[in-house]
Amino acid sequence: MSQFNNQRYLRRKFVNGLALSISVVTVIFALTFLVWILWTLFSQGFSHLNLAVFTKMTPPPGSAGGLLNAILGSVYMVLFATLIGTPVGILAGTYLAEYGKSGWLAPTTRFINDILLSAPSIVIGLFVYEVAVNSVGHFSGWAGSLALSLLVIPVVVRTTENMMTLVPSTLREAAAALGAPYWKVIVNVVYRSAKTGIMTGLLLAVARISGETAPLLFTALNNQFWNSDMSKPISSLAVVIFQFAMSPYEDWQHLAWAGALLITLFVLGLNILARTLFRSNQSPS
């Protein structure tokens, strides 16, 4: 009898040890790929990063050049997408947080917004193609911005709502007791105390769209030349990387690595900035 118990005990111990070792292995597995991907990116990227990348235009195959027009295009489109998406997102988020206690619109919108948050970005690109490219007859930087702004909106709506609901209702009541109308309460009290949180959301949204390629493929298309006219096809870093990396030309592939490094540094930098901003806000200072 005691023999049987002992065996059972050993078996349980063994299963436990095995399961927990596998759990440790999975963590190592994930970390390996993180380090591997970053290492490849840094070693390839830095060895092909030089001044020409920032000062020259994208070259025709087989010759040297840079990524200046692509960087400019990306900056333009991300900037305008943020300018379009932010107000829409903040106001919609305000409705969900402040007026969303009753009625059908708020819960449904919240649900739809969460789905849009993870919806395939290439489908957003298709939608904008139908709306802003096909109907106009040509690709344009505006269409690219619009597609990106549709990716900004769900992120901003989500964080705005979360951050505004975190603001204690006593603050609102105190302001209301002083006779402030509700819109003033929201603008002067709630927005002000949720400011850092909303900013965090905004940074995360910018980080998300900076690396996006799929929605730009058939909205902004690409442009080999210097272009600052948003109503024409415009180049972007992500699309250029895609085109150059898939090409058989070594010069192009090298530029793609340099561009990939730039995008990743920018995106990860924004992510880290957003998190430190948020943490310093959370801790009582």
Binding site: R12, N16, A19, L20, S23, V24, T26, V27, F29, L31, F33, L34, L38, T40, V88, L91, A92, T94, L105, A106, T108, T109, F111, I112, N113, I115, S118, A119, P120, I122, V123, L126, F127, Y129, E130, L150, P154, P181, Y182, W183, I186, A207, S210, G211, T213, A214, F218, L221, A238, I241, F242, A245, M246, Q253, A260, I263, T264, V267, L268, N271
Partner: protein, 318 residues
């Protein structure tokens, strides 16, 4: 009317205006979803009229004779996502267990940050890494082994036979797995953390091992949340474009082998949409896009509902 009463009136009007403005923008978000579905549906009408429901069962894809069918990309989308789930879910589960149950406190944050970094890397980087680094390695070292050892199995052997090219469905699925791990793992970690420690401690008090606590207490308590997290990852895997486009090989041929190049809906769109000539070709691609959107919508909606159900139960208990 006294000035103060007038002031109050103006205040009330602005109040109403403000409310209506925010409501309008919320409505805009609400209507966006239907806008997408309706627009894509209109765009896909020419193809649906030309091919009817057989579009979804035909594996034809011939721009010259204008014959299109969606079977190959739809099949590819599901198979790559399935591979991603088979690898990604157990790994995410292991990571979540490690963070919530095993990790010393000082290690929790760094690992959390590392997982977030993995989620923050743009998908195009995964694609480039997959094409230039992973695929050659996979072709030289892993695929010959799979061919030799799994290729001769009865019945399923066919699935693992194929030229070791590096690119193909298996590679795409594997890279997708790495991409969905951060999303699934962080949802699992979050839901594992809501398990009341009293429940866990009473199991420990009865002499249960850590694994038994996880399997018999934590998992049953959080199963809706875990499934929600898996579905969220699945939604990502189905719709991911760039990482897949680099390594899938863009071939419109149906093959039982996972080693062969294939196509997914998103990679077909990325590769062919701007080059598509003619209404039917474009419209066929839009139909594929609509299909993808509907599939991911269903998956994500289910994920969301499951997570909401878990949150509701949480609310009732506390």
């Amino acid at each position: 009317m006294s000035p103060s009463a007038q002031n109050k009136n103006v205040g009330a009007t602005i109040d109403k205006l403000f409310r209506l403005t925010t409501m309008f923008f919320a409505f805009l978000v609400f209507i966006l979803l239907f806008g997408i579905i309706i627009t894509l549906f209109i765009g896909s009408l020419p193809a649906l009229k030309a091919f009817g429901p057989s579009f979804f069962t035909s594996d034809a894809w011939n721009p010259v004779t204008v014959q299109f069918g969606g079977l190959v990309p739809i099949y590819g989308t599901f198979i790559t996502a399935l591979i991603a789930m088979l690898i990604g879910v157990p790994v995410s589960f292991g990571i979540a267990i490690f963070i919530t149950e095993l990790s010393p406190v000082w290690l929790k944050r760094p690992i959390g940050v590392a997982i977030e970094l993995l989620a923050g890397i743009p998908s195009i980087i995964y694609g480039m890494w997959g094409l230039f680094v992973f695929a050659p390695l996979f072709a030289d070292h892993v695929q010959p082994w799979i061919n030799d050892n799994l290729g001769s199995l009865p019945l399923i052997g066919q699935v693992f036979q194929g030229p070791p090219m590096g690119i193909g469905m298996l590679t795409a699925g594997f890279i997708l797995a790495i991409m969905v791990i951060p999303f699934t793992a962080s949802v699992m970690r979050d839901v594992f953390e809501i398990v009341p420690s009293m429940l866990k401690e009473s199991a420990y008090g009865l002499g249960a091992t850590t694994w038994e606590v996880v399997w018999n207490v934590v998992l049953p308590y959080t199963k809706t949340g875990v499934v929600g997290g898996i579905m969220l990852g699945l939604g990502r895997a189905l719709g991911e474009t760039m990482a897949v486009t680099f390594v899938i090989g863009n071939a419109h041929e149906l093959s039982p082998s996972l080693m062969m190049p294939g196509n997914t809906i998103s990679s077909a769109l990325a590769n062919e949409f701007t080059e598509a000539v003619g209404d039917i070709y474009t419209s066929s691609l839009i139909t594929l896009g609509l299909t993808l959107f509907v599939i991911t919508f269903i998956v994500l909606a289910l994920a969301k509902l499951l997570l909401i159900r878990l949150a509701l139960r949480e609310g009732k208990q506390s």
